[in-house]
């Protein structure tokens, strides 16, 4: 069997491949988290204006980045699954949603706990915060919609439409701090300008971001494998895998 772009769009092969990848992702996640927390909590200096509370940044920013990135990845695979009738792509999209929702919640939660000591309030109806809250509702809406439709492929398609339309919210979140006057500070790191933070802080934040990537891959692969088993439970290869199944 030659290795092509489509080799791993077959559920049995994807299942076998991710079975190998998931432990690797977990090992990477643990190593990167340990390094990132060490840099962030023990090496990075005290912030000149915020004192120690700024250390929330090492989970807040990675969580917020992941929440936006995962939404776009989810919309992309949902769209591919819809346009090309690719079952595995739709399963990946469905598997991403809970992880994306969790990162969105964490971005809001850590932001609230960071806002209280620095701004004096847990929450404000500000452009950045409100658009991120809408992102959480989009994730929850996607999950609720797809789970409410019994026909699996129809659920995938309805979800794809919601995910694609909802992706208009991502640039709104990203540019909200530029377009409107908000309490939230502007981008700390961008591709076009030098980072406005100490090297050790930036290193810690990037390590934590890569740790979140590894985490997301590990969990999404695990959930995709569960979805494959649920949807293909009649297939011979699944029965052979199952304990007590026909061999």
């Amino acid at each position: 069997m030659p290795l092509t772009l489509y080799t791993f769009s077959s559920p049995p092969r994807f299942y076998a491949l991710t079975g190998v990848l998931v432990p690797v992702c977990w090992a990477l996640c643990v190593a990167l988290t340990a390094a990132g927390l060490w840099m962030g909590l023990f090496v990075a200096p005290t912030d000149a204006t915020q004192g120690e509370v700024y250390r929330i940044i090492f989970i807040h920013v990675p969580a917020a980045w992941m929440s936006m990135l995962l939404y776009l990845v989810m919309a992309f695979w949902a769209g591919i699954g819809w346009a090309f009738n690719a079952r595995l792509a739709s399963m990946v999209a469905r598997a991403i949603a809970p992880t994306g929702a969790m990162f969105t919640f964490l971005a809001l939660w850590t932001g609230a706990l960071w806002g209280r000591p620095t701004w004096g309030t847990y929450w404000v109806w500000d452009a950045r915060l409100t658009s991120e809250l809408i992102l959480l509702f989009l994730y929850l809406g996607y999950i609720a919609l797809t789970e409410a439709i019994d026909d699996v492929r129809r659920a995938d398609q309805a979800g794809a439409l919601l995910a694609i339309v909802g992706s208009v919210n991502i640039p709104i979140i990203y540019f909200s701090v530029k377009w409107w006057n908000t309490l939230h500070q502007g981008a700390t790191v961008s591709l076009t300008a030098a980072p406005k933070m100490a090297d050790t802080m930036l290193t810690a934040m990037l390590l934590m971001t890569f740790a979140c990537w590894a985490y997301a891959f590990a969990v999404v692969f695990t959930r995709t494998r569960a979805l494959i088993l649920e949807r293909e439970c009649g297939a011979a290869w699944v029965r052979e895998l199952a304990p007590g199944g026909a061999r």
Binding site: I59, R223, R225, C233, G244
Partner: protein, 70 residues
Amino acid sequence: MTWESPAAFFAMGGDGFFVWGSYAVCLLCMLVEPWLAARRRRRALTEAGQDSGNRHPANGIEDDEEDPRT
């Protein structure tokens, strides 16, 4: 090393509640979610073994197929 004592580390300059409140909830979420996903996969595998006999032999995605989770 930026800390003078373990107590200073946990106090986080007086903002320990906010810093550790953030980290604790993240840790909790990132332990529970993988556990739920792994449990779902294990259950799917067990169920596939139990009632594999009376299922559609094709790929199990046909329109009138029951949702396997119910």
